[in-house]
Subunit: 367 residues, 2 copies
């Protein structure tokens, strides 16, 4: 059952994508305006589910890639991703049938919509993370064996670079990031096409719809003056970890990433408890009174308690009153081979053992 | 009249190339050993002149590219340039008929010989500089309009990057250098094939032969216990600028380049005079008593007075007794459009006006 996006979907999608961004992934706001402009010009954004996809369909990711911290906000010209898509078609001799997000969280939820509209292609309702992660290899496609080259980068000045062969997906990340930073810190990125059959096994399904519905839940709750945080938890099999006031924010730039931690003083049912969130662009680990309670690859989400809007790590600041939620990641991210790439040790937390988020005490039981 | 190189040619070529390296361009020694190995395996290195080249021949440059200071010495595996050549053939759909050096000065004199032997192709007796320069765009091919993309980089671990389109030749340099540095500071580099007809107009002719004969002149003089510096000057329409002892060397790393200056105290006929050479990897400007007497793109060459062997800028040191020679660059480097790219201002010497080297007082008149 394919779905054609309308203008009002874009707002919901951008809110849901920001929630799934788990504090990072860049701001989808500018992309949302560009996508709206394309819809107003009469172009269409059509979603197709993984089930609808032909096994032989050729599907390419497109997205922005840049300096991790600068993020995606530098995009102006607006056809970098389309240029990258055309380059990958040329270099692989493949006609692409559909595009798919690599990362539903943050700004890269919107880029595939824009490119799909420009190219007249559908968008597959799935992605490779079910959230945001900072690096290219942290994607189910590569974790489960998609070849990491060729991949193409393009900027708005006509520069195009094709990474033709790489020894592994980590090298793809390194080379692509390097070239993207030279391209003015934001480039369009398209990767080697994948077959529909592969995606049916290894893409995280229905995540565009998930983002849309999450965003709609927040918007509806706000309209109806209900608690948007509760609306998010009703929509997802998630867990409310903490209510608190931010009492300390430490953040520094390390290797291009915003690394740091945020301390919280408990409010409401959590009075007397201390919370801490460790961040590396995204929210990676949540600790209650210095005991790890949730960590990557599960999703740790910080919402403004009043508006239900997600707060990205770069705008966390002293005095904010926030709700901390955790959502379980998709099972594809919990296998041993995935945890090697996206588990806590992959982010340098060698002392933290990943334990899948426990949901027996659900949000409903707590609230 | 084509010429097939024999083992003893390689020593002469490496000496001549080091002289034409004007202090930079990397050390051709390791490449010479690798080329010798290939000859011993029965492979051949065949020179063809520009005149012999078919107008429609497809000719590609190959060479090493890396961190400017690390230079070319990291090459170990030995087929990076061949891999880059194959990549450029693939991406352009062109069968390459011959290779040509981009830069006869330094290590990149030897790389085309090695690749030619490996690929079974001839080497064109010409190059794009007639000397060494530090950057890709400083090449007659680009100065006179060769398209700066596609270009391919390859390392010894199987990584390959194709720069598919670039806005200009400066961007090619920047992107290629960036990728090369990531590839462990030395990569094989091959550029878009050029037609024979184009090269007949814009390549600096006969420079492989020139390097060979220069090297032979030094070797012969040493064998016959004649002054090798004089032998170089006899062979070239050059000028002996100075004899002196190095009394000060200042060198620092700036943007990856070794930048600095060397002060000389005059010896022999130059007693009482002060000399100075300003360097940026290569010897760029020679001043006598603080007055500019020679500058890029003309060649400034520092030779050991006793052995006649060229001294590269990185091994200049206090106490060395050296001869400073200047050779006129090829007329293709003296046009206004060339001077924009390789004249003193292109190296930041905005106060220095290029005046073609005066040869009326030739070396013979002085010595």
């Amino acid at each position: 059952v394919s779905r054609r996006l309308v203008e009002s979907d874009l707002e919901a999608l951008s809110i849901g994508a920001a929630i799934l961004g788990t504090g990072g992934g860049g701001n989808p706001y500018i992309g949302r305006l560009r996508a709206r402009e394309l819809l107003r010009q009469g172009l269409t954004i059509e979603l197709v589910s993984l089930e609808e996809l032909d096994d032989d369909a050729q599907v390419t990711t497109v997205g922005g890639i840049g300096a991790p911290v600068v993020g995606i906000e530098k995009f102006e010209h607006g056809d970098e991703c389309l240029r990258a898509l055309r380059a990958i078609e040329r270099v692989t001799g493949t006609k692409v049938d559909a595009v798919i997000p690599a990362e539903i969280g943050g700004a890269n939820s919107m880029e595939p919509m824009i490119t799909a509209a420009q190219a007249g292609l559908p968008v597959v309702d799935a992605d490779g993370m079910g959230r945001a992660f900072p690096e290219v290899q942290m994607c189910t496609y590569y974790i489960y064996g998609h070849e990491p080259a060729p991949a193409a980068l393009a900027d708005d000045k006509g520069n195009q670079v094709v990474i033709q062969r790489v020894q592994d997906m980590y090298r793809l990340e390194r080379l692509a990031r390097l070239v993207a930073v030279d391209m003015g810190a934001a480039a369009g990125f398209a990767e080697k096409p994948m077959r529909g059959e592969f995606l049916k096994r290894y893409a995280v399904p229905n995540t565009v719809t998930q983002a849309l519905e999450l965003g709609e839940a927040v918007l509806t709750a706000r309209r109806e003056r209900r608690d948007p945080v509760e609306a998010v938890l009703e929509r997802e099999r998630g867990k409310l970890l903490f209510h608190g006031k931010i009492i300390d924010v430490r953040r520094e730039l390390k290797g291009g990433f915003a690394v740091g931690s945020v301390r919280l003083d408990g409010l409401d049912d959590w009075r007397g408890q201390g919370g801490r969130i460790d961040i590396q662009n995204e929210n990676l680990v949540f600790l209650r009174d210095d005991v790890v309670e949730a960590c990557v690859p599960d999703l740790i989400i910080v919402l403004d308690v009043d508006t239900g809007m997600p707060i990205t790590t770069e705008v966390l600041r002293y005095g904010q009153r926030v709700a901390v939620l955790a959502l379980p990641c998709h099972p594809l991210l919990r296998t041993p081979q995935a945890l090697e790439v996206v588990g806590p040790a992959a982010f340098g937390y060698h002392d933290v053992t990943y334990r899948p988020l426990e949901l027996e005490r659900t949000a409903h039981a707590i609230v």
